[in-house]
Amino acid sequence: MEDRLLIQANKLSYKINDNKLFSNFSLSLSAGQAIHIKGSNGSGKSTLLRILGGITEPSKGFVDKKPNINLSYLGHKNALKTYLTVRDNLILLNLKGKREINNLLDLFGLNDRLDIVTGNLSFGQQKKLALIRIFINKSDLILLDEPFVGLDSETQEILSNFLNKKVSEGVGLIFTSHIAANIQANTVSISS
């Protein structure tokens, strides 16, 4: 693999029983690039992200990743413990770099919610917390499945700017979204 190449998907196909979701899908992403995966409902965008992340095995094809790549992924499940406070959910990651956490909490407006039980937060606030958890990890590649869902327009703008900044810093980004986002990304369509 090239030095800057983070991930390469080669002729990926996926089918559930006899229902083919997509076939011969290929992409490659280098550091500092973003890809927006588009497709209709049920076209397999989320499955593709899971395959790229290594959770799901493709029916055909293979994925090559840079050795020792640090991946972050946020799918439909936010991996938050609703019975824990926001602070405890952050502690669960054994995070260092407290200044960065505080900056992100400020950015997403959760700095005054640290001692609130996560289950009492709104859907949008939980989504913000899940995103913060993803962004605190020092990742080479971020995979986001519908990151703008549940966020107000102001937060969508903040998130877009933040992701653009991450990409400009050399992080790779692959995301799916039905919401028009202001992210500098190549668009790839997925279909069977």
């Binding site: 991946l71 499940k77 669960l92």
Partner: protein
């Protein structure tokens, strides 16, 4: 370092979810208190019948304790995160089971030994009872975790049914062991046998469980 982090994470999660560990312990205490109250036996019969009741209670309580042990992490996406970030699922499972044993298995073992004195048995027999109780609760915990992993999305009844054949040999050994304690004869052979079983399954079953969970995630 990673082991310590996982240990802290799992401890925090279980500590904050009080009902997950306190509930089974209270159920155990309830059974131990209810047993002499509801059975019309002479004190001699009561103390003789105590051991089978104790081990069956341990079995039921560990079954209760492991219900949903992986389900929460599966449903909220924590297991996905674990796989995608390249952390060892196998290691996490070993630590998770160990922490459940620390929080539930050990208190139950100690309480079981104390209730043994309360049911008319000697303090010596209580001290003899503690090691097999600690080993047995760990074995039950691992076996029920295996059953729960198999039936992760299908409910705990199926998991329990799958686990039953694996539990039967353990129960047979426990029967022999309690007889040895009752007649005050050497029970170390049975204890070593139980320890041998534990030392094998303590590493093998988490590997199987992690494979099963990965299959569920796909």
């Amino acid at each position: 370092m990673r082991i310590l982090t996982t240990f802290k994470q799992e401890t925090l999660k279980l500590l904050k979810k009080t009902r997950a560990w306190l509930g089974p312990i209270l159920v155990f205490v309830l059974i131990m208190i209810a047993y002499p109250l509801t059975v019309e036996l002479s004190s001699q019969n009561l103390s003789d019948a105590f051991y089978p009741v104790l081990f069956i209670s341990c079995l039921l309580v560990m079954m209760l304790a492991t219900e949903g042990i992986f389900l929460e992490d599966f449903e909220d996406g924590s297991l996905e995160q674990l796989v995608i970030t390249g952390n060892s699922l196998y290691q996490s499972i070993i630590i998770k089971i160990f922490i459940y044993w620390l929080f539930i298995g050990i208190p139950i073992s100690i309480l079981g030994s104390l209730f043994n004195v309360g049911s008319g048995n000697t303090m010596d027999s209580s001290l003899m009872l503690l090691p097999p109780l600690m080993i047995t609760t760990y074995i039950f915990l691992i076996l029920f975790c295996f059953g729960n992993a198999l039936s992760l999305t299908k409910g705990s009844v199926l998991g329990t049914l799958i686990t039953m054949p694996l539990l039967l040999p353990i129960l047979v050994i426990l029967g022999k062991l309690t007889t040895a304690i009752l007649f005050n004869i050497n029970y170390f052979g049975f204890l070593i046998l139980l320890f041998g079983i534990l030392s094998i399954i303590i590493f093998i079953f988490p590997a199987i469980i992690s494979k099963i969970i990965k299959t569920h995630l796909e």
